[in-house]
Symmetry: C2
Subunit: 198 residues, 2 copies
DNA sequence: TCAATTCTTGACTCGTTCGTCCAGAACGCT
DNA sequence: AGCGTTCTGGACGAACGAGTCAAGAATTGA
């Protein structure tokens, strides 16, 4: 019926994510993205609408994939709940330390740059954070059922604390903290979680 | 000898801070700053050199004032060390919640936007974070001497954890967390700090 | 008062960047 | 093959923003 698209939308979004991630929104040029993807600007605008809309697509995708990935790391049987929590916290510290370019997380970076002036970004970020907290809360509740964490503490409160520590690890990583420091924070955070008596 | 400056450098820096803070670096125009201060662009460039140099001045100032302010909150006698720590943690949560514009902290925002590509900003942010950690460590060590926190935990590790929580509170605030959530995190973080036996 | 010096103003230059537009290409259907 | 439709590429327009510059203003010392 009509000429089919020559490019893979998924691939273009990935490339755009890469650019926005390392440069930020304002500093990334549409021409960059066009060149990086090999697309002409006409195709780019035709397919995605404009810079802001493209960023929203990328940001949404990113938030979704982060929540998915964390979900895969945290969901499972009660028996392994604490091991999964511990692995996740250390994984975030390691990933942040390994990010030598200090790009941090696009969720945090995008929110920092745009949340104040872009309602859509703000809302999406809020939703993603809420989802992450829910995942943590479920896992912590499982830890409590399994006797790995004291049952007399509100799992929601502990989840909020752990989430804050994770976001803090990333912020410190962006500010140049060493891998040792970040791993140390992960360990200390896990160590101070209240254990059941005996 | 020569015509004296008509403007107050301090005031210009404050105005520039305001602009950079709410708009970010890339999205803030020198014309904006010129208009906001009432200065002509010539004076602005004559006095500060250029956009990047002006931002560096603003950023340095900001980092210095944050470290100073925290220092004033945390330094004092051993007897009040825990009260000061507690007050500080709650103060950060309250301040973040009160920041309805979700601007967050310029230190975090600037680092997020520029640390990857601007060596000077990265270095300054790292130094500020290190100074904050040192202040926390001193206060926590005082708490331990006074018997408010278990003495068998490395104060440096606890300080790193608390710092991560504080940075995390701010990150969550920017993502839209409620005052209740933020205050809750502050309380939970203080509650899980290890107490001396009896 | 005059000269020397530094500050001020805003118009100007020049590169940059978003978004548009259009001629032509690729495809499926008849 | 011919046609309608959609995609492609890149030239173009228009606005914008960083930094410059030159003419004039304010000030002190002689």
């Amino acid at each position: 019926m009509a000429r089919p698209k020559k490019f893979d939308e998924r691939q273009v979004l990935d490339t755009a994510r890469e650019r926005f991630w390392s440069g930020g929104y304002a500093a990334t040029r549409m021409d960059d993205i066009a060149e990086a993807t090999g697309l002409g600007k006409g195709s780019l605008y035709g397919a995605f609408g404009g810079k802001q809309e493209l960023f929203h697509r990328v940001f949404d995708d990113y938030c979704g994939s982060v929540v998915d990935a964390v979900g895969r790391q945290l969901r499972g049987d009660d028996a392994d709940a604490y091991a999964r929590l511990s692995a996740h916290v250390y994984a975030v510290a390691a990933a942040t330390a390994a990010d030598t370019a200090h790009r941090g997380c696009l969720l945090a970076k995008g929110a920092a740059e745009l949340a104040e002036h872009d309602q859509t970004v703000a809302e999406r970020a809020r939703a993603a954070i809420e989802a992450l907290q829910a995942l943590l809360e479920d896992d912590i509740a499982a830890c409590q059922r399994n006797g790995d964490i004291a049952a007399d503490t509100d799992p929601g409160k502990l989840a909020a604390l752990v989430l804050a520590v994770l976001r803090g690890i990333e912020a410190l990583g962006k500010a140049g903290a060493s891998e040792e420091t970040l791993t140390g924070i992960a360990g200390t955070a896990l160590a101070v979680l209240p254990r059941p008596a005996h």
